[in-house]
Amino acid sequence: MIKVNGENRDGFAGKTLSELLCGLGYKELYIAVELNGDIVKKDSYGAVILKDGDCLEVVSFVGGG
């Protein structure tokens, strides 16, 4: 079980962060991600392997400034 923005998600332990983000419909370009309280650099999404009990916070941005 992996917690994403407070919600429990099954089936992503052992998968990469990229696979989870894609599976949940996030667009990697427009988000920032914290894994267990640490920011994940954008070029690491494909390399981070998720494990049971991980806690993710994902923030999505929209354009305009």
Binding site: Y30, K41, K42, G63
Partner: protein
């Protein structure tokens, strides 16, 4: 004639009290992007008496900017760093200003912003917001970012809020109105969002971490 430093200090101290003014005066803030958000944030921080600002933008003032950004006709074609530096110096001549006319990337972000504890993220594109935040929070362990996301159109002002997204990331905006989807960016909501950012920055300077 420009009032003296002592005159500035006297009125600011009378308004804010000495302890508050001293904290503002010793604060250093970097502003990433000098469009509708960044130019308004910078003006508010200059008026509030923040001691030092670093302004970062690669772009020049365009006619399409004048509907919401702190520039005027005479600034068209000038670098935003130059035009805004002059405007800020006319508002608060005793603030220390530095400017970097450079395009921020994931590779140079830490070098540009690393010396600043508080960074205002004020880019226009969503991918660039996400890039800056991911790069800076990852590489600069002491940096706090105050970001803007969602301020287009003319929906209710009251949708715009300040939230603490991560421990070192605050996001101001409605979170949903994308400038590409709705009726474009308009001065009031952009300035509301910018001043949510400016106020959160002032709260951080004064030791308040909650929104």
């Amino acid at each position: 004639m420009t009032p003296s430093y002592e005159e500035f200090e006297r009125v600011m101290t009378e308004r804010h009290t000495r302890p508050v003014y001293d904290k503002l005066r010793s604060a250093r803030v970097a502003v990433a992007g000098l469009g509708g958000l960044g130019s308004n944030v910078a003006v508010s921080l200059a008026r509030a008496g923040v001691g030092e600002l670093m302004l970062v933008d690669f772009d020049r003032v365009d006619l399409s900017n004048l509907n919401r950004q702190q520039y005027e006709i005479a600034d068209l074609g000038r670098y935003k760093t130059d035009a805004l530096s002059e405007r800020l110096a006319r508002i608060n001549p005793y603030m220390k200003l530095t400017a970097r006319t450079v395009k921020v990337t994931a590779e140079n972000a830490a070098e540009i912003f690393g010396g600043f504890d508080i960074v205002c993220e004020a880019f226009d594109r969503a991918d660039r917001k996400a890039m800056l935040i991911s790069a800076l929070l990852g590489e600069c362990r002491g940096t706090v970012i105050v970001s803007g996301s969602g301020m287009a159109g003319y929906l209710s002002s009251n949708m715009i809020q300040t939230k603490r997204a991560f421990d070192r990331l605050y996001i101001c905006g409605d979170g949903v109105t994308d400038s590409a989807d709705v009726n474009g960016l308009m001065a009031p909501r952009v300035a509301i969002c910018a001043n949510h950012q400016a106020n959160m920055i002032i709260r951080l300077i004064l030791g308040e971490r909650e929104v």
